[in-house]
């Protein structure tokens, strides 16, 4: 069996799909539909949550206590998704998310995990040399700031609620959401006005 598994992945996929379809287990239409749902999730959804938390104190509290409920409140589909926890950055504490064992990622609110999140270098270095890792993105934390690395090993998925940058006073939620990037919600970068 090991030998047949060494077949090129693209050929394996076609063969497995054909067999599952012939057995009535998985149809092409289902794959197309599932793919469309997955493609629709993107960092813009997490960014909307962040912007709302920045402007609505009650939403911020709700989001920190149950990320999945807070996502659903903005119409983001969470059914069948793992629980979502939210880690709040403050002037004293910066959060960074990694999965050292595989690539657990808050897909419901950020979409597919980016290449770097899945890479061996990111997974190895995040827990051992997190400040050196952040420097790859040009992110430098003050020496006195506590850095908390959250290794996402089990049933929860984690997103970071970054600090609202100075110079954004009076901005609308839409404008605030537009400055929040994927990396800000994993903790490798920090949003700027």
């Amino acid at each position: 069996m090991d030998k047949i598994l060494e077949t090129d992945g693209e050929r394996l996929l076609v063969a497995v799909r054909n067999l599952l379809e012939a057995k009535g287990l998985v149809t092409t239409a289902e794959i197309t539909e599932r793919r469309a749902i997955t493609d629709a999730a993107n960092p813009g959804q997490g960014a909307r949550m962040v912007a709302k938390a920045w402007t609505d104190p009650a939403y911020r509290v709700a989001m920190l206590s149950d990320g999945a409920k807070a996502a659903e409140a903005l119409g983001i589909p969470m059914r069948g998704m793992p629980p979502l926890g939210v880690l709040e950055n403050t002037a004293e504490l910066h959060n960074l998310v990694v999965c050292t064992l595989c690539s657990c990622y808050p897909r419901a609110v950020l979409g597919y995990p980016p290449f770097w999140f899945k890479s061996a270098a990111y997974r190895a270095r995040a827990v051992r040399d997190p400040r050196g890792l952040l420097a790859e993105w040009g992110t430098h934390l003050p020496e006195a700031m506590k850095l908390r690395v959250v290794d996402s090993t089990a049933d929860y998925r984690w997103m970071v609620l970054p600090m609202r940058p100075a110079g954004t006073e009076g901005w609308s939620e839409e404008k605030l959401a537009s400055i929040v990037r994927e990396g800000d919600m994993i903790g490798v970068t920090i949003p700027a006005a």
Partner: protein
Amino acid sequence: MLAPGSQVLVKNDWPETRGPCHIRTPHYLRGHRGVVVRQFGAFPNPEDLAFARPAARVPLYHVAFSRQDIWPEGSDRDELLVEIYEHWLEPVGAAS
């Protein structure tokens, strides 16, 4: 049940050396001490799910560790926060 603030020791156990398994406790934490931050409720044990066996629900905790306890280089202000299932944790007595 482990209360928030409890000192715990991650078991220094290596099932990998005994045969096929699927473990969600990272190797770098085994044998290290941490502090329980909160409990998340109970989830089916992935060590059984991975083999499609019936899986009992086990309590899951967020446990904090000092990064420098594990790797001496770097800042002493870094913390690691990791989800760990209860069967991997041993309470550390007040006397020890």
